[in-house]
């Protein structure tokens, strides 16, 4: 379902609106009504073509791992991944519950709270051979 911005939310820029949605447990993406194109990270325009008729839509939440690394430090390791969302845009995120996962694996988003901040992370739902 697309959603035109609520009046109260419209007082905020897209970045703050996105974070506000996240804090409500919702992973939302912007889409241009005229071109149908999605954009992430949230902006005031579709980059390159400039459409400003953007509405928020609930993300499908599914995507594919495009690239992944494991940052190793004495204090602990964590992975950092680039996820190609099924809607098109790419985002940085983390694969939960495991050290790493093969590129090409299918993943599904969920929202967690970490250090008081709501954020999107992904679980592997279909692993491909490395």
């Amino acid at each position: 379902m697309s959603e035109v911005l609520a009046t109260a939310a419209a007082a905020l820029g897209p970045q703050e609106q996105y974070l506000e949605f996240l804090s409500q447990g919702r992973f939302m993406l912007q889409r241009s009504l005229s071109s149908g194109r999605y954009v992430f990270y949230p902006r005031v325009l579709i980059p390159g073509t400039g459409e400003t008729d953007l509405v928020w839509e609930e993300a499908q939440g599914t995507g594919t791992i495009y690239a992944i690394t494991v940052n190793r430090a004495r204090t602990g390791s964590h992975n950092v991944a680039l996820i190609d969302l099924d809607e098109g845009p790419r985002m940085m995120s983390r694969i939960e519950g495991r050290e790493t996962a093969p590129i090409g694996s299918r993943v599904k988003a969920r929202i967690i709270e970490e250090e008081g901040v709501a954020m999107v992370v992904f679980d592997v739902i279909e692993e491909v051979a490395a």
Partner: protein, 383 residues
Amino acid sequence: MNQAIRGKTAIVGIGTAGVGEAKGFSAMELLGQASLQAIADAGLQLQDIDGIFAATSSHAFPTLSVAEYLGIKPSYVDGTNIGGSSFEMHLLQATLALEAGLCNAALVCYGSNQRTAGGRLVSMSEPQWHEAFYKPRHPITSYSLAASRHMHQYGTTREMLGEVAVSARQWANLNPEAFARGPLTLDDVMASRMVSDPLSSADCCLVTDGGAACVLVRADRARDLQRKPAYFLGAAGAQWHRSVVAMPDLTVTAASESGPRAMEMAGVSHADIDLVMLYDAFTINTILFLEDLGFCPKGEGGRFVQGGHIAPGGGLAVNTNGGGLSCVHPGMYGLFLIIEAVRQIRGEAGARQLKKADIALLHGNGGTLSSQVTAFLGSENAL
């Protein structure tokens, strides 16, 4: 493409200071020492400098800080900051300013004390809000992501990446100024500590101190000065993204755009190029840039570097100073590419001197594979 500025300016003086470790010296002090050396090398006086081109990781307004420190009131400045590639761009900006008569002697300069000041990469680069949740450790996270994708897509291996580090070390062992010297085998690289998969500590550039500077004048004046001029042949920059998230294809950098444009301006083809200086912040850089600059097909960079092909005595002379991996990397390495190219073109490179060094390609990289600037320098024979 416009070749109107090809050969119209030349580098007539170079200087370095504190390459490696310079305990007790500030970034500006190293920049100042390198600048004085470059000006003296050119046979000019400090008061002859009327154009300043500068970028550092520690000065918000680098041209203001440099002008004040040196006591110069420049008629033209440019502080373009596109990370480590800034200085290749400064060659282009300085050439444009000199040709337009906006200045007569251009100083391109840089200094950093990041090794002795803290031993960590110093950066004024701000976190990207949409990435910050996931604690990326830039720059290495971005380069590791690119390496992971290249390995996935093209079968590039850690051994191939390691070969880049080994080749760089072999060149460094011929360079008395290089900071990391001594034997380094592929086994050593493979056994080194993993930092960010698939890149290990041996895949990462050094963290050193160092200042560097060069002086450019118009070509007619260059011929009257004491040093053999290194002529500006062409340059082009391409900027496609800021954050690695916005890089369309992590296996294709904007060097694939800057390279052809610079080659056209310089009027050179691959067979003409004697020296290739690539910004090797990480081993994957060398592989990506060899591909994107057209030395081998996309995806073949890993296989291209195998068997010592870019090592001393190999088929292509790449990073003859030892590169950012083994010579020097004070945070923004781009000016050191220029220093080595000028030394080779002058015939002052000692044990690592190439038999023929008439045309050098310099490729600067900035940010997280974000800014790509390709430049060409050449000897009198290249004109």
